[in-house]
Amino acid sequence: MQPVLHVEGLWVDYFTRGRRLRVVQDVSFAIERGEMLGLAGESGSGKSTVALAVARLLRPENAAVGGMVRLNGTDFLALVGEGLRQTRWKSVALVSQSAMNALNPVINIFRQFDDMLTAHGYTDAVQNRHRAAELLDLVDLPEQVLNRFPHQLSGGMKQRVVIALALALHPDLIIMDEPTTALDVIVEREILSKVKTLQRQLGFSVLFITHDLDLLLRLTDRVAIMYAGQLVETGPVGHFSRSLHPYSRALVQSFPSLHQHASDRRRGIPGAPPDLSHPPAGCRFHPRCVFVADVCQTAPAWEAVSEDPLIAVRCSRWKEIRDEFVSTVD
């Protein structure tokens, strides 16, 4: 069966100050039907750009996008004009970074459902109202919310509204870009539990983007980790307890676990992420890497470790790391 989303060799260039800057390079991944893929990375790693590129929300004046993005087998990057407009939201819906600002402040919630439904050919306002109320019910919001304006809702309620909007046209894929960063942990938990339940019910796929790896490991089916514009490792959640890329390993270690006290010190990752206008030669992580060796001066390839389940890694020394793991842990 073909995946819902298939991304191959995706790259994105931004045009800033007369220069062209490659912010995403050689990104390949796929999401199966009903699957939730988590994309993790620090700020500036390019994870949100991947989301915008896949959703076709980068303006041609600002950015160039290349590579392949297939949605249900059709080439999504090739769509233009009216064709693109009509496909939007039906194939890919977006729950964006800040729910706080994702709703138009000057029109009420119903009209934000209605205009979208109208744009996709559902012009009966009475039916649209009915449909909108049903959708709100899915996310546990009362119908009265339809008459409210965004500023009258709490952050959690707004995020639920945006999720209800995303479900409206039964999309195959919902991109969630840091959907809960502005929310408190308990509200976050409520909303994400709801998303999981709805996903089981309705069968859509999710690309979930966040910097919170700890959250992803509890929430998603599969995780992909980005560093400095490239994917460095992907695999099922379970894989990351023995991840093969030094960056992923360090990242997993960067969270003090819940029952860990300072008597048991952990270390962060030394240094800072690179400036993308001058990325380090070879492996982009090598200046901060504890496993660094001469071979890291040449750029490592995106290499499959296993096909099923798919595990891939971008590190020249992954075999040695795996072997060391085996010898020290087991």
Binding site: V185, I186, V187, S254, P256, S257, L258
Partner: protein
């Protein structure tokens, strides 16, 4: 409680914000009768969601705002709101603050050297000139900016987020304070840099013997950093205990939810009772009542009082479930049945 008198003590401190805009007048209770103590050399973590009042507590201690009720005691003396300039300056030397956002806590127009040197100059701790410059370099190296000399003339925009936060820490350390208030010092940093900043603060705590109020929304971070943890919700301390006790045996339903939310897997359905009930600020009941999975009728009627759990030193909780138990003396049995 510790045997020595606390260095800092909040006694029933309340803070009410009256928001008078052109359009309307609204009253927000940021803190309700909060009592806390920090002993010399102790790290107390204050954990809460946004809007819980934890940042207001920091601002009160930093004397950026005044309490609406209650008293703040520092080193055996109550803080006087009408304090003279001299007393205020003395306080400012001894109580320093590290801010949340390293991007906005440094002034873009001043150099690193200016930021770190100003407290030294204001409090006349070091004579101006070469001695001050040397002291600034030493401070920068203390916070891990090596070599200090190279950072002195840099502007904030030339530094990474982690480096900026270290400058912020150096500035707070400059007057050699007794108390550090750290208001979510790592929440704006990239994940890979957080641990190092936390470790730096822990090192300072041992080398400089400072007391610390460590404010965070993250229980695991609080546990990593602190001796004691106080959990705050809507301006009220819900539970307070030594870090290991709180993590192992949380008593308050809210603390349990917090712990649960940061560890459990998703997809098991929501564990919160009410559908996001909003609290009417004039409500007489427990602030957590609308969302509490184990609420009782009484919870909407009277505010629970914070009380010590018998047999467990330094563990207090503010919940009717606990206080209703027939025999509080039995300790463990008196936990709320959730």
């Amino acid at each position: 409680m510790s045997s020595s008198p606390p260095l800092i003590e909040l006694r029933n401190v309340s803070k009410v914000f009256v928001n008078r805009s052109l359009r309307q007048r609204s009253v927000v209770y940021a803190l309700r009768e909060v009592s806390l103590t920090i002993a010399r050399g102790e790290v107390l973590a204050l954990v809460g969601e946004s809007g819980s009042g934890k940042s207001t507590t920091a601002q009160l201690l930093a004397r950026l705002t005044h309490p609406s009720g209650g008293e703040i005691w520092f080193d055996g003396r109550a803080i006087n709101r009408q304090a003279g300039a001299r007393e205020l300056r003395q306080y400012r030397r001894r109580v320093q603050m590290i801010f949340q956002d390293p991007f906005s806590s440094l002034n873009a127009v001043h150099t690193v050297g200016y930021h770190v040197g100003r407290p030294l100059a204001i409090h006349r701790l070091v004579p101006p000139g070469r001695a001050l410059a040397a002291q600034v370099e030493t401070l920068l190296e203390t916070v891990g900016l090596h070599p200090g000399r190279e950072f002195v003339s840099k502007f904030p925009h030339q530094l990474s987020g982690g480096q900026r936060q270290r400058v912020g820490i150096a500035r707070a350390l400059a007057p050699n304070p007794d108390v550090l208030i750290a208001d979510e010092p790592t929440s704006m940093l990239d994940v890979s840099l957080r641990l190092d900043v936390m470790n730096l603060l822990l090192d300072l705590r041992t080398t400089r013997k400072v007391s610390m109020l460590y404010i965070t929304h993250d229980l695991s971070g609080a546990n990593y950093m602190a001796d004691r943890i106080a959990v705050m919700y809507r301006g009220t301390i819900m539970e307070e205990a030594p870090a290991d006790v709180l993590m192992k045996d949380p008593v308050h339903p809210y603390t349990r939810l917090l712990l649960d939310a940061s560890t459990a897997d998703f997809g098991n359905g929501p564990s919160v009772a009410g559908p996001l009930g909003a609290l009417d600020p004039s409500s007489p009941g427990c602030p957590f009542y609308p969302r509490c999975p184990s609420r009782m009728p009484v919870c909407s009627e009277t505010r629970p009082v914070s009380a010590w759990i018998a047999d467990e030193a330094e563990h207090r909780v503010s919940c009717h479930r606990y206080h209703d138990a027939e025999s509080p003396k039995t300790g463990r049995d008196a936990q709320p049945k959730v």
